[in-house]
Each structure stands twice: as structure tokens, then as C-alpha cells.
């Protein structure tokens, strides 16, 4: 079969899937830009009579988007920083220094990786009550860092192994201390891996749902994901134009970053899990 024929066949075969994937994006855009009067009608139409971009401005104020955005950034950045500070030494140890119990440590990490927070959420809630951290953003920072630790160590050690030892050995001969070798020689070389790992941890925190749902109480502390859910969950009158505008604004930037870095995630996962 010719290349063109094969291409047409492939596109045709996957067209139902493509439609199903693009459908929610079309729904988001189509609802986010229409005036409220055109929302709850039957039969609904794809293209509104009037395009109303002012929805985004109204939504920003109506749903408290700014505050929730700040909360999400604080929690995600804090958790990412904590996670990396703890994961870097662990990944350095597992990739550079053979030690007794290394296998056990890796298996321990694997178990924590496979546990989803939802299975332990009652226990985590009780822990946070005991520490007085309910409705505090710190609680999320601690949990997110802990639940991403295994992933971060796994990703980092896979990359660390590819960095040649010779440079550190040369620095050692030049009299650099262990700390200087790590800080001045090794980490700059590992910067791309650190950046990629940090981005994925950040996105996990940004998207996390069940812990935010459980541990946050007052509106001014809600993260963006949870704030948008709270516009939908348990309400009788849902302002779908606001919800879709907020969803669009909250997920498209993250989606673009994720899509552009996704191939690193794959190579990291493949190195850690499959090879």
C-alpha cells in the first residue's frame, strides 16, 4: 500500500478516538465563551450567537481564581522543593555508592510509589489532626513531597547513572570535598534531570485532588483544582460558564508543559521500571 493510502487508513481508523479526545476540549471552549443566557437551553448548540470573552474576567472574580492560583503555586513549589531536597541525596546514594540494603530500599520506595493516597486518606487525616495541620497548606506540602519521593528518586537515579564518574574523581584529585563535588560538579551536570523531575512533581501537586478535598476546610486555602471542583460538587445551581472558563485556564498551561516534557517522563519511567 502507498504511504498516502496507509496514512488515510490510519487516520480513518483512529478518527473515533480522536473525536472522543478532542470533544471535551471543544466543550470547554464552546461553553467558556458564551453568554450565560445561552447555556441552559435544549437543544444546545455548539456555536453561541455571541462570543463573550469577558466571561474570563467575570469568572476570575466570581470564583476567587487569583487566591486559589496563589495557593496552588505555593503548595506545589513548596512540595517540589522539599521532595527534591530529600530525593537528591537518596538518588545519589543509590546510583553512586553500593551499600548493604540498597535493594530493600528500592523495594520500599516501590511500595510507597504504588500506594495511592486515597487508600490511606483516613490515617493521613488523623495524623494531620494530631499535628494540628488540618486546613493548613503545610499539610499538603508534606503529603505531596512524601508521595512523590519514590518517583523523584527513581527518575533521578536513572539519570545520575548516565553522568560519568570521571569528572567527580578529577575534582577529588584536585582536593574538592565531598560536598563541593556534589554541589559544584555533580548537580550542575544533573540540572536537566532535576528540571524535568521537578516539573513532573509540580504537575502532580497541581492536579492532586483527594488530599486537598480531605485536608482543606476554608475557602481561602483551597488549591485551584479543589476550588474548581467546589464550584461543581454539592451545588444545585452550577454556573457552567464560570466553571469551564476556570477549567480551561487552569489546565491548558499545565497541559502544554506536560505535553512538551512527556517524552522525558517516558524515558525516565522506562529506565526505572522496565530496564
Amino acid at each position: 500500500m502507498s504511504r498516502a493510502g496507509r496514512s488515510a487508513l490510519y487516520w480513518l481508523a483512529l478518527s473515533p478516538l480522536i473525536l472522543a479526545i478532542l470533544f471535551p476540549f471543544a466543550v470547554m471552549v464552546s461553553t467558556a465563551i458564551r453568554p450565560r443566557a445561552e447555556i441552559l437551553v435544549f437543544p444546545p448548540v455548539w456555536l453561541p450567537q455571541q462570543i463573550r470573552l469577558a466571561n474570563f474576567v467575570d469568572m476570575w472574580r466570581a470564583v476567587g481564581f487569583g487566591q486559589a492560583l496563589v495557593n496552588s503555586i505555593l503548595v506545589s513549589a513548596g512540595a517540589t522543593a522539599l521532595c527534591l531536597i530529600i530525593a537528591i541525596p537518596a538518588a545519589y546514594a543509590t546510583s553512586r555508592m553500593p551499600f548493604r540494603g540498597q535493594r530493600l530500599f528500592r523495594q520500599f520506595l516501590l511500595v510507597t510509589q504504588m500506594l495511592s493516597p486515597v487508600v490511606l486518606v483516613l490515617g493521613i487525616f488523623r495524623l494531620m489532626v494530631r499535628m494540628g495541620l488540618v486546613d493548613k497548606l503545610y499539610a499538603l506540602v508534606l503529603c505531596y513531597a512524601a508521595f512523590n519521593l519514590a518517583f523523584a528518586v527513581w527518575m533521578l537515579q536513572a539519570y545520575f547513572r548516565t553522568i560519568p564518574r570521571e569528572l567527580e574523581e578529577a575534582a577529588k584529585l584536585d582536593g574538592a570535598s565531598a560536598f563541593q563535588r556534589l554541589w559544584l560538579v555533580f548537580l550542575p551536570l544533573a540540572a536537566p534531570a532535576l528540571g524535568v523531575t521537578a516539573t513532573f512533581v509540580f504537575i502532580y501537586c497541581w492536579n492532586e485532588f483527594v488530599l486537598a478535598l480531605t485536608l482543606l476546610r476554608s475557602n481561602q486555602n483551597f488549591t485551584l483544582t479543589f476550588q474548581i471542583f467546589s464550584l461543581v460538587g454539592g451545588r444545585y445551581a452550577i454556573e457552567w460558564d464560570n466553571v469551564m472558563a476556570a477549567t480551561l485556564l487552569a489546565s491548558v498551561p499545565v497541559a502544554i508543559v506536560f505535553a512538551s516534557l512527556q517524552r522525558y517522563l517516558v524515558s525516565g519511567l522506562a529506565l526505572g521500571a522496565i530496564k
Binding site: W11, A93, F105, S116, V119, G123, F209, T247, A259, V266
Partner: protein, 306 residues
């Protein structure tokens, strides 16, 4: 003088081989994991073996009484069966669709890059956001699903997809499959690109048909990747909370509850902490078992590729 004083230090370090440095480096990660993940497991285990008030105070040791209460709960069996249906349907559907998709995407054709980006899109959006958008799209009055079906004449009246017990769960399964495809396709693509080209060329020269090459070369070589995808997806889907919670919260009348959503209701809505802790432990053990299976599979692959 100085040199002689320094030399033994270096020498001793080299002889010892085992230093405490790696243990100091992994210590912070162990502490954090034991604090935030280990302690809750211990606390839940402790709670599951005691009678508990609805405010979470532990009373007398009660052995396995909480576990037998869990089994006697009529919703337990219902949610367990639904969790199995949910998990097998989503994982099975995902794998069956992902293999042909990966085979297509691994081939050379016009627009391959753009198609890859499209297929990966659902992974880039959080499950919570996907759930919210689908909930609106399936809205009983004015959702765009109704709009589209109405335009094609498939329906005359609006259908309340998510408020009807018969349609809500199958729709959630379909959306579960849709959002699980990107990860599986990605792993399969990685697997396909690692297969040695030469043997396919050799098979072609020897006159093996396309079907024979697939059945006797691609499939067996892809086998380890299929195993990994099955186990990982099983773990993810079994635990999947946001999609169902956002779309239906397990309703109408618990007809879309799976174990995780029911567990959440037991703990934070119904205040049945005794049953909730027992269920948490049961689910923890199931996940532990699957993690062990995964570790064995991953290690076997490691040995084969090494």
C-alpha cells in the same frame, strides 16, 4: 609531616569499603516516608483491630471483628464486584485499544507527529478537570453530548446520562479507558522501538506474512511490556478516585460506587471508622500483593535484558 598524617585516613576509608555516608543520604527520605506514609498505615492497622467511636477514639481490642463487620455490610460485596468490573473493563479495554494504536503510531505515515500529540492529550489534563468537563458534556439538559446526538437525530428528548443507573457506570468506564490510553500507548511505543529490526527483516525475507510476524515476533517480544502495563494499570485503576467522585460521587443510589469512593464515604460521611479502617487495610494488602507481582515482573525483565 602533614602527608603522613593524612595518608592513613584515606587508606582506612578505602579499606573499609562500607561507609555510613549512603545511610546518611537516604535517611531523610526514610524519615519522611515513615512519617507521612508509614505512620498512617500503622494507625489504620491499630484502628482496624479495635472498636472505634465515630469520633475516632479507640476502645477495646476487638480482634478481627471490624473485618467481619465489613464483610457483613451489604454494600461491601456490591462495591467489590463493581470494582472488579471497573478494573477489568478499564484495564482490558485500555490494553486492547492501546496495542493497535501503538502499532499505528510506530509506523511511518503522514501526520504522525500531530496524531501522537492528540493521543497523548488526555494524560496532560488532570482527572479532576476531565471529570468536570465530562460531567458538563453529559449534562441531562444542555450537555453537548445530547446536542450532538440530537443533531444526528439519535435522540428526541434530552437524556440524563449520569443520573440514570444504567448509563452512568458504563460511561465512566469508557472515560476511564480514554484517559488510561496515553500511558499504555507510551509504554508500548517504548517497547516497539526497542525491538531489534534485523529479525523482522529476516522474517520478511523468509516470507513470513504480516500476521505471522505479529503473532510470532512482535507479540512475544512485546509480552514483558504488556505485563508491565497490565499490572501498573491494574494498580492505578483500582485506586482511581477523582473521575467517579467528580462525575457522580458514587450515585445515583450507590450504583457507581467502587471500593475507594465507598471507603471515602464510610470515613468522612457515614462516620463508620471501624469498617473504614478495616477496608483501608484490605485495600492496602491487595495493593501490596500487586506491587510484589510488579516487582517480580520488573526484575525478570531486568534479568532478560541484562
Amino acid at each position: 609531616m602533614n602527608a603522613t598524617r593524612v595518608a592513613p585516613v584515606g587508606g582506612r576509608r578505602r579499606e573499609g569499603g562500607m561507609s555510613i555516608a549512603p545511610y546518611i543520604l537516604i535517611l531523610p527520605s526514610l524519615l519522611l516516608a515513615f512519617w507521612i506514609i508509614g505512620y498512617p498505615i500503622w494507625d489504620l492497622t491499630d484502628m482496624s483491630l479495635h472498636s472505634v467511636t465515630r469520633f475516632g477514639q479507640l476502645k477495646d481490642y476487638s480482634g478481627l471483628a471490624n473485618f467481619s463487620k465489613l464483610i457483613d455490610e451489604p454494600l461491601f460485596l456490591e462495591c467489590l464486584i463493581r470494582t472488579l468490573i471497573w478494573t477489568f473493563a478499564v484495564v482490558g479495554g485500555t490494553v486492547l485499544l492501546s496495542i493497535p494504536i501503538a502499532l499505528i503510531l510506530a509506523d511511518d505515515f503522514i501526520g504522525r507527529h500531530i496524531l501522537r500529540v492528540i493521543i497523548m492529550l488526555p494524560w496532560a489534563v488532570s482527572l479532576t478537570m476531565s471529570g468536570i468537563v465530562w460531567r458538563w458534556a453529559l449534562n441531562g439538559q444542555s450537555g453537548m453530548v445530547n446536542a450532538t446526538l440530537y443533531d444526528f437525530g439519535a435522540i428526541r428528548e434530552p437524556v440524563a446520562w449520569l443520573a440514570t443507573a444504567g448509563t452512568a457506570f458504563p460511561i465512566e468506564i469508557a472515560i476511564g479507558i480514554l484517559v488510561s490510553i496515553p500511558f499504555s500507548v507510551t509504554v508500548f511505543l517504548g517497547g516497539l522501538s526497542s525491538l531489534p529490526r534485523e529479525i523482522f527483516e529476516a522474517a520478511r525475507i523468509d516470507g513470513a506474512s504480516g500476521w505471522q510476524r505479529w503473532r510470532f515476533l512482535t507479540l512475544p517480544l512485546l509480552r514483558p511490556f504488556i505485563n508491565i502495563v497490565l499490572v501498573l494499570n491494574f494498580i492505578y485503576v483500582f485506586n482511581s478516585f477523582p473521575l467517579i467522585w467528580v462525575m457522580t460521587q458514587g450515585d445515583p443510589a450507590n450504583s457507581t460506587d467502587i471500593l475507594v469512593t465507598w471507603l471515602y464515604k464510610l470515613a468522612f460521611r457515614y462516620g463508620k471508622l471501624d469498617i473504614a479502617s478495616a477496608l483501608s487495610i484490605v485495600m492496602f494488602l491487595v495493593l501490596l500483593a500487586f506491587t510484589i507481582v510488579y516487582a517480580i515482573l520488573a526484575m525478570r525483565n531486568e534479568r532478560e535484558t541484562a
